[in-house]
Subunit: 351 residues, 4 copies
């Protein structure tokens, strides 16, 4: 804590899009003070040299070499790193009373064999897994409040889980044939220099990718299994949209019983009635991703087209906010007993 | 026919995107001569005053008032009009030996009660419906050759049909639970001045729309019924992509029997082996819409993710070419016994 | 004033992009309460029905018929209307002690013959012109504090003035040959349904427009004349960029004396040293419009290429924020003796 | 020559955007046969594995190791390589009667000290410079017909030269104060994996760059000097536009004498009256880059705003066509005495 009662915050690996987004959000957070931000490759650079939008908010903040001693003096450390970094530093930090929020995948998968298979490395902190809390407040709010380590959900998983939750909770869909047709803006691919992410390669085009098995699939299935309290079969097809921010997930399920759109609407509204960041839109409306651009809101709508036995949910988030850094701050607020919406009230930027 | 053996062509309503696209394609067609183009609102204007890309190809072509006498002297008349225009002029033209290719929906739906219900007007030429041929060459090539009236397929219906056809032909999927999650660029909404089509409203955003019943749904279901030779149930959700051209359809079906991806690939390749404008991509690859931008190709791939019982097809076309004007020219080529690919050989524009 | 000390605010004509942007900014302003928003065409609609990003911030705010009696009870009224509306309502409001901030052009041009010629209508409130203050705080801060009527500057004029000001102030450029090559995103054209503003017409394209005389030219020249205290000749060419937000102005002047880039940099930095919303970037860097997206900052850089006698300034703003609604709120803060940056501190949204 | 009279063509380095564009254009060229295409990094790959738009046009073409023996058997070799490659292979090829068209900068700058200074390497073939012809057909058509080595112009230089040529030819502008404010789509930065070219970095943003000295500046100045037959001073500021293709150059000059817009229009029209690929648009119109997307046309308009002494030209090309590969094919046509427009007649893709 600073003298004026602000949380002292460390960010490990803040040169990517979730890093700059964390800084942007924390700049508006009255209880946040970013004390240290690390980057091996950019040590010495001011953050505004990479991200000039932050010139006024962080005139003096520089990237430094990762240094556990410095991080230990923080109240909370966010990992906005590639996979495999957080699990190495977490044990020592946790032991020293620092709370951890990992925006990467190190702590998301309970079954470490699955994790190790997918990420191709041994897990460095299996002993911590038991106490990890999956940071989706709509599901795990109370456990988040007392957690020491948060596995912040992936972007696709956030949208897919929030959309399916009311249906699974009420056992309304056949769990053997769930379909999630998801679409993401290009920032989801990160700030790495790859030909496939060039503007001239992705603009004015749309495609499916990763059909054979996206790295988010195990996370989503683990969570849907948990929600359904049984084994689900999900077909998950991600797509790339020529826009910077935003995820839309169109979810399809076969209804297990006849239910009117009015009832569906009621169930969705009731499920999320108390949620500050989930908006079930009025019947007949549909969400655009721009309705949440830059904001921590998730908006969704539910339909039963032509009155047949398929239910359709469309659900949008900003992949960098509710799908990453905004949700991380929401978790931080819960962990430190702050108002859950602190720093996250700004409306989406539209147009 | 002109003296040098070119088809004399009329275009009714050439001020929209399918109109300019027809002109662009016909400009490269060695057997085409655009004799007349009509537009009530733009009479007197040179086409290049609206579409400056056509300055060199059509230096002298002007929009004129629709005039049946002039149209009667054409070999073929394309209708690139709103719905409801072609059906009024078609009878007199057909009677005078003029072939008709309607890019709108007037002749697409066999069940006129359905048509009238959807389009909110009585049909003006029910007596012609029997001889209309639905202009999807991959399905109806021989009938198209001798047709007098072609109902040129809609853009979404083209993509969805071509993707589902191998599966339905071989009865590989449960027809009660088909899902088509389709995405279109903004040119699909036409050149009308609507707030919802403004750049500031659609750029940097993605959304589902028309879930309750898109006007293309009856056309798609009619055709899938025909393919499956039974009644199918399709859930069709269109989406708007912030790009100008292109449609991608991701299709989901529950397999009726276990079948390997190799076999699926083989069935798809065999189905389209002789098709000049359908490309089944090699196993492991996936189509982008930019791979067909400005071209008449349809590219697709088939997958069985995680070896489960859901088959996924992703299929791309350019909505203005294979989804409209290119397919119309392909139909014209067939109707006049020309090489089917004439004027349609140009590769897609990439990047 | 509300009981808890907030300004009671009226917005006339809040259905366009400057309207929604005002609402977005005011939602984060601790001293603002939007009491009434009017729209003839949308009376009865909730603002979130048009702009779903505002669902949480304004759950109950509805458009109402313009009603002077209601507006009179506000502390300040913003006009986010087409030209010609503010001048009709202003006299009665001002008389009743309501402060006026007009985001349209009604009060921007001192020479009413020029105004009437450009806008094609007689001016309805010539008697008010004398007390109007042109709301560019960097030039007129003290006069703004006590003004009753603010003419909020246009978007292009804001960028061009801020970029030229240090040069004109120090008489560094030949005022007979100024060039402003300016570029704007598509939101600058407004939310009206026009073919020329469709996504399919403006995406993936770039063009100059309005060379013969853009409606912002008289405003810019009046202000540059004022800055230079002599008559200037400006060639102003606006261009349309396929993006939603942002203006970049590249300014060219012939130097009147030899001056190093270091000196130029120093003069620019000194001119804006105390300005909260003007950032003279460090030597060698260049601003992108995305560095100010959604924020009230203006960023600029100054160069003397190849050491020749032409000076180049590049200057970026968000056309809807510093170029319209953000600047309007900055003016409001000054007029009501609030911290000038209140509600305007959020960093730009990047990426 | 092939047996059926086609030119045998080699392409060195065809994995970038000018390479794929050459292949696209040559696919439609009736006298072209691409015999060999080389790429060290992609040897063995089919070109359609990189560029799926070419699957039908080049089903069997594979990248091969650069091999001078194979290239020697071509009629013409295009270099679509980074700078520094063509100059090394050119001597041996030319000696063997192969014509060379270099799309990079190796042969563009006559003053090799300038070249070596800019490109940071010694020039490998100074002995060839004397016979090199700068491949701008509008200036050098007759010399191109008999050339053995063509330096294909850069994209910015093409647009700037064509726009200034009528003014310089008629000595209408003060050559000491020329300004070229140029804007390019992102494909101009090439297909290299760079953070600055990512979609998430360049979309929805606009910026000036390279003010201190773009690598195209020496080429432009050399050519303008040549046109003006005296030394010119040009201020050249390039900008990056969030679109894939297209260059727009807005050119400013101070008139040396009073001249009406009618006269200016006449001079421009007369200058380019016989040019198949330069379109002086009618008075009062303005070019968009989309009017030339995918085509070899250059379109321009000339204005004298407010009747003052500054003349403004706006000029658009497709940077990959008239600015690179299309112009290269135009040069090839001239060198082999073919119709200059062969393979280049397709209208621009609009929308």
């Amino acid at each position: 804590m600073t003298e004026n009662g602000k949380l002292e915050i460390g960010i490990v690996g803040g040169t990517g899009y979730t890093g700059v987004e964390l800084l942007r959000i924390l700049a508006q957070h009255p209880k946040a003070f970013v004390k240290v931000i690390t980057s091996r490759s950019e040590t010495g650079l001011y953050v505004w040299e990479l991200f000039a939008n932050l010139r006024e908010a962080y005139p003096d903040l520089q990237y430094s070499e990762p240094d556990v001693e410095k991080l230990k003096r923080c109240d909370v450390v966010f990992f906005a790193t590639p996979h495999g970094v957080a699990m190495k530093l977490a044990p020592e930090l946790v032991e020293n009373g620092v709370k951890i929020i990992d925006l990467a995948a190190d702590f998301r998968i309970n079954d470490l064999r699955v994790w190790e298979n997918f990420y191709g490395m041994p897990h460095a902190a299996p002993e911590l897994m038991e106490e990890v809390v999956y940071g989706l407040p709509e599901l795990n709010r109370e456990r988040i409040r007392t957690a020491r380590i948060i596995a912040n959900p992936g972007c696709y998983p956030t949208a897919v889980q929030l959309g399916f939750w009311p249906l699974l909770k009420h056992r309304l869909v056949d769990v053997d044939h769930l379909v999630a047709d998801a679409k993401s803006g290009v920032s989801g691919a990160g700030r790495g220099a790859k030909v496939g992410s060039l503007a001239a390669e992705t603009s004015e085009s749309f495609k499916a990718y990763g059909i054979h098995g996206h790295r988010h699939l195990p996370e989503i299935e683990q969570q849907l299994n948990h929600m359904a309290q049984t084994h689900v079969n999900l077909t998950f097809v991600p797509h790339l949209v020529p826009m910077i921010r935003g995820i839309e997930a169109t979810l399809y399920g076969k209804l297990t019983r006849s239910i009117s759109e009015d009832e569906l609407q009621h169930i969705f509204e009731e499920t999320y009635a108390e949620e500050p960041f989930v908006d079930v839109m009025p019947r007949g409306s549909l969400p655009d991703t721009r309705m949440v651009k830059g904001s921590n809101m998730c908006r969704m709508a539910v339909y039963r087209p032509q009155g047949r036995d398929t239910v359709v949910v469309t659900c949008v988030i900003d992949n960098l906010v509710k799908g990453a850094s905004g949700q991380a701050v929401q978790n931080m607020n819960l962990m430190f007993d702050l108002d859950e919406t602190l720093g996250l009230e700004a409306p989406a930027l539209l147009p």
